[in-house]
């Protein structure tokens, strides 16, 4: 069924379709609409289960972890400062191998204060052990939530789905809402082999020896590595049921491209249009969308960019003192490529500034004009 809705409501719909019986959250702009929608559905009975209104994001995540370990599907949503406050619990979720699914609406981090799109909030959490997806639009956010539960519950790892503030969270688009039976077929009820059991009381997070700690981290890294394979398989199965897929990365018009733009999130949509126009004018431009960020799909990226001469990564985030974070990761992934392409990092769209087709075109012409490696990030700002 097609419906017209915001990215936030698309996410809320996914949570409902997944029959998530436990939601714990705290409202924060621009995520609040997810919270409100789920709250409304809980009140009207459409959302079966418990919607816990916690006093902070930290508590929301703590509640999700505890509930998850009793063997139920859990969900929370947050943004920016809320995610930062949750930080400590993010490590606990991953460390406890709790398959919590969370939507994060990418919003800049204070200070100064603001509400606008910026990916630094979730990228700052890249080392917490969470799987991270970046979505281009509401449809993809909805579909990724459904896929996320499959991945999380198979590997016992938490998943964060990011969608940008306003450009995705508040933008209304036509969304194809899956039928409940389809989702039920694709996503069976959560059935963990491990559940907290009142009959056999135990407790988590005991003190362990150095060796044991190391062993658990090693195991978790093993699970993280297998995400790429599992996510790709889940995506293929998703296609069978819903006739849509995304890939963990998506190469667009890349085979004969000399210059490749690399994007994540909503900038990808604009870039799709720009490269189509430039190709009509004879420029051999391609596009690579990165959807799965953690674990970073090193092999897929390397394969896609094999033989390319120049790459421009557009980052709506900045790791101060270094550069765009996607660019860092990409450069690290390509370090073993035999003919390492020149990789330029462009910073655009920081703090929610608009990345228009003109901006992307400007980046494209800029990268075509460059023939020497540049380490520092290249800021694209209005003059």
């Amino acid at each position: 069924m097609k419906d017209f809705m915001t990215g936030n409501h698309a996410v809320a719909n996914a949570v409902k379709l997944c029959r998530t019986p436990f939601v714990a959250a705290y409202p924060i702009t621009p995520q609040t609409a997810i919270y409100e929608k789920l709250s409304e559905w809980e009140a009207s009975g459409l959302l079966k289960g418990i919607m816990m209104r916690t006093e902070s994001e930290h508590s929301a995540m703590a509640a999700c972890i505890a509930a998850s370990l009793t063997g139920v599907r859990t969900f929370t949503a947050t943004s920016s400062q809320g995610l930062a406050l949750m930080h400590e619990m993010l490590h606990f979720a991953a460390g406890c191998r709790a398959p919590v699914v969370m939507a994060n609406v990418n919003r800049l981090l204070a200070a100064p204060w603001g509400f606008w799109a910026d990916q630094l909030d979730s990228l700052s959490q890249r080392d917490t052990g969470w799987i991270q997806f970046y979505c281009e639009n509401g449809q993809e956010a909805l579909d990724t939530v459904i896929q996320a539960y499959r991945i999380a519950e198979q590997l016992y790892l938490p998943v964060m789905i990011s969608l940008e503030a306003f450009f995705v969270s508040h933008f209304m688009e036509v969304v194809d809402l899956p039928e409940q039976e389809q989702v039920d077929r694709f996503l069976p009820p959560m059935d963990l082999p491990h559940k907290f059991d009142i009959e056999k009381p135990g407790f988590l997070v005991p003190v362990v020896s150095s060796e044991l700690y190391q062993e658990y981290k090693h195991m978790a890294q093993g699970s993280m590595d297998s995400v790429k394979e599992v996510a790709a398989k889940v995506d293929r199965e998703f296609r069978k049921e819903f006739r849509r897929d995304y890939g963990i990365v998506e190469p667009i018009m890349i085979e004969d491209a000399e210059v490749v733009l690399v994007t994540a999130g909503s900038i990808t949509s604009t870039a799709r249009m720009v490269i189509r126009d430039l190709r009509e004018k004879g420029h051999k431009i391609g596009l690579l969308k990165i959807r799965l960020f953690r674990p970073f799909p090193v092999e897929a990226v390397r394969d896609a960019l094999k033989g390319k001469t120049k790459i421009a990564v557009i980052d709506r985030n900045i790791s101060l003192g270094s550069g765009g974070i996607f660019c860092q990761e990409l450069r690290a992934a390509l370090v073993h490529s035999p003919e390492h392409p020149l990789t330029f990092g462009y910073i655009a769209g920081i703090g929610g500034t608009d990345v228009t087709p003109e901006v992307i075109q400007k980046i494209t012409f800029n990268v075509m004009s460059r023939n020497e490696a540049t380490d520092a990030p290249i800021w694209v700002m209005e003059e």
């Binding site: 191998r97 082999p193 491990h194 135990g202 407790f203 988590l204 005991p206 658990y216």
Partner: protein, 575 residues
């Protein structure tokens, strides 16, 4: 601690099935919670020292027998106080500052009427030496003193001038406020103790005062049964009755013919009892009082009920002369008064408006302008300002309306209780000065018998408790609600006869009413501390009323103290 895995999940995360109790995290803390019960303002305000939060908690749980037993530790007359008390407890109730006070008096009545076991665990203490105490006057003060002295193990003989015990409760208060059956029930409970009762004994006539001194101690509580005079012309006409005599006739079921219109002079509780009784006998009633409604000393509820029933009021009038008219009616001439500056009692003085008089006519005039003590049989050295004063005599004690204190049932009960403690201390050869400051409930004069008993044998009393003020209540845990009032019989029934006006609370309302109590300073097992304790170190048992803190695992975070709505939990530094 076992962190090994025997299970797929435990392979990916460590899970322990051992107990966390092996780590005594409680040793990290520098403070520990302590349940320290404090005094509620209602209890401080109650002259009898009723354990109000405790009895309301038990009543709220439907444990009425225990609730009654709790009340009887401090007050032998819950059924009577639950009806006729002027309830200062409700005035001081912390909840009154939040929305409306708890209906404590109605609840006391409810518990007293509902308990199935009316003779709960009342067992006198056994003393080594048996001492004899004489009590003169079986009113609320005398009976309360007899009750507590008997419980304290002394042999008590009560001398009563009238043919039945009860005093003002028997001969003064009309049935529509206090049914005789309730009085009987409470008196029967007292005489279930080994107390000797001698009625129709008039000290000074058929028993000499000196004979009393043969006892080890004497308590004088003869009440104030002489009616004060107006001291005006015509007062001695036979159509002019005295309030106390009139009430006694009614309470003896004697015939009293009033005529069509009755005029009552006075503004206190006797005046209200007289007016409302006269109304019930079919007369039209007007009350004349020299100040205004605001200054009337009667209990507010009585004034309101009198008004509801149709008693008329003529304020700012002072009688100056009564004269007989031809048709056997009377003309009563009043000086018109006005209010002026406050007097010593802080009430505005009533002063005459020069040259202004009014005359009212009536078939019957009943005066109720105060009562005086009959001192004819009292030795001179025990009299001061028209009252009994026993300061000069070590073995004679006194209380009730005959001494210098407010004249209410509950203050009389309180004086009997205090005297019982004083007498007990004297008979045991202890000094009293110090003890009363240790067993006090707050700072308004009431004392705790429970505290007295706890220290009586060893001479060690707990230190007095704080009174919990409103700002120490965590009101976040309470929803606003209205005070719950008793139902009343309809006005027609009220005007026609002496049936009890208040019908008491329904079981549902009683339960609701009990649950409104903030339980200031008293644990009522709300389980907040239990739920909020992050360490799970608190155990409670509401049924046996026990509390336990696992100090090996309490880190002293203070969450229990913060989350206690009623300020019972206190954090104390560990040494």
């Amino acid at each position: 601690m076992k962190t090994n895995s025997d299970h797929s999940f435990e392979f990916v995360i460590p899970i322990s099935y051992g107990s966390t109790e092996v780590i005594e995290t409680g040793k990290w803390g520098f403070q520990k919670p302590q349940a320290s019960f404090q005094t509620a303002p209602c209890q401080e305000a109650c002259p009898a020292g009723n354990p109000i939060p405790q009895f309301l908690y038990l009543a709220g749980e439907g444990r009425y027998d225990e609730a009654l037993q709790t009340l009887l530790k401090e007050n032998p007359f819950p059924g009577i106080c639950g009806r006729v008390c002027f309830h200062p407890c409700e005035t001081d109730c912390n909840r009154a500052q939040y929305d409306e006070s708890v209906s404590i008096r109605s609840m006391e009545r409810y518990v007293s009427d509902t308990a199935s076991n009316q003779l709960p665990n009342l067992k006198p203490i056994r003393n080594r030496e048996l001492k004899r105490v004489a009590i003169v006057g079986a009113g609320p003060a005398g009976l309360s003193c007899a009750y507590f002295l008997s419980l304290l193990g002394h042999q008590v003989t009560v001398f009563e001038a009238k043919k039945e015990p009860g005093g003002i409760m028997r001969w003064g208060i009309p049935e529509y406020r206090l049914p005789k059956s309730v009085l009987k029930r409470e008196i029967r409970r007292i005489f279930n103790l080994p107390i000797e009762m001698k009625t129709s004994i008039n000290v000074g006539k058929n028993l000499s005062f000196d004979e009393l001194t043969g006892f080890d101690a004497v308590f004088l509580s003869p009440g104030a049964r002489l009616n004060a005079l107006l001291s005006i012309e015509g007062e001695d006409l036979k159509q002019v009755w005295k309030g106390g005599d009139f009430l006694e006739r009614i309470n003896s079921r004697e015939k009293a013919t009033l005529g069509r219109e009755t005029l009552v002079i006075g503004g206190g509780n006797t005046a209200m009892d007289v007016a409302r009784s006269a109304l019930r006998l079919g007369s039209k009633v007007t009350v004349a009082y020299r100040r205004t409604r605001n200054e009337m000393p009667a209990i507010q509820d009585e004034i309101v009920e009198a008004e509801e029933e149709g008693v008329r009021f003529e304020f700012l009038t002072q009688p100056v002369k009564v004269s007989l008219l031809k048709d056997k009616r009377m003309a009563i001439r009043f000086q018109r008064m006005r209010l002026s500056d406050p007097d010593q009692s802080d009430r505005p003085r009533a002063i005459p408006v020069r040259g202004k008089f009014i005359t009212l006519e009536a078939d019957r005039l009943i005066t109720a302008v105060g009562e005086q003590v009959d001192l004819s049989w009292i030795p001179q050295e025990l009299i001061k300002d028209g009252l009994i004063d026993v300061d000069s005599s070590p073995k004679i004690f006194a209380g009730g309306d005959a001494v210098d204190q407010p004249r209410t049932i509950v203050t009389a009960i309180s004086s009997g209780k205090r005297a019982a403690i004083s007498i007990d201390l004297r008979l045991r050869g202890d000094s009293c000065d110090d003890v009363f400051s240790k067993i006090r409930l707050g700072n308004k004069g009431s004392v705790s018998m429970e505290a007295y008993l706890s220290g009586r044998d060893e001479g060690k009393w707990p230190s007095p408790k704080d009174v919990i003020s409103y700002d120490r209540i965590n009101t976040l845990y309470f929803e606003h609600s209205k005070k719950i009032n008793m139902r009343k019989i309809n006005l027609d029934q009220r005007r026609r006869g002496f049936s009890e006006v208040n019908r008491g609370l329904s079981p549902e309302k009683a339960s609701l009413s009990a649950s409104r109590c903030f339980s200031c300073g008293t644990c009522n097992y709300c389980y907040n501390c239990y739920f909020f304790c992050p360490e799970g170190a608190i155990s409670l048992d509401a049924f046996h009323q026990t509390k336990y803190v696992d100090l090996d695992h309490c880190k002293g975070c203070g969450t229990c103290a913060k989350s206690c709505p009623r300020n019972v939990v206190e954090m104390k530094e560990t040494p």
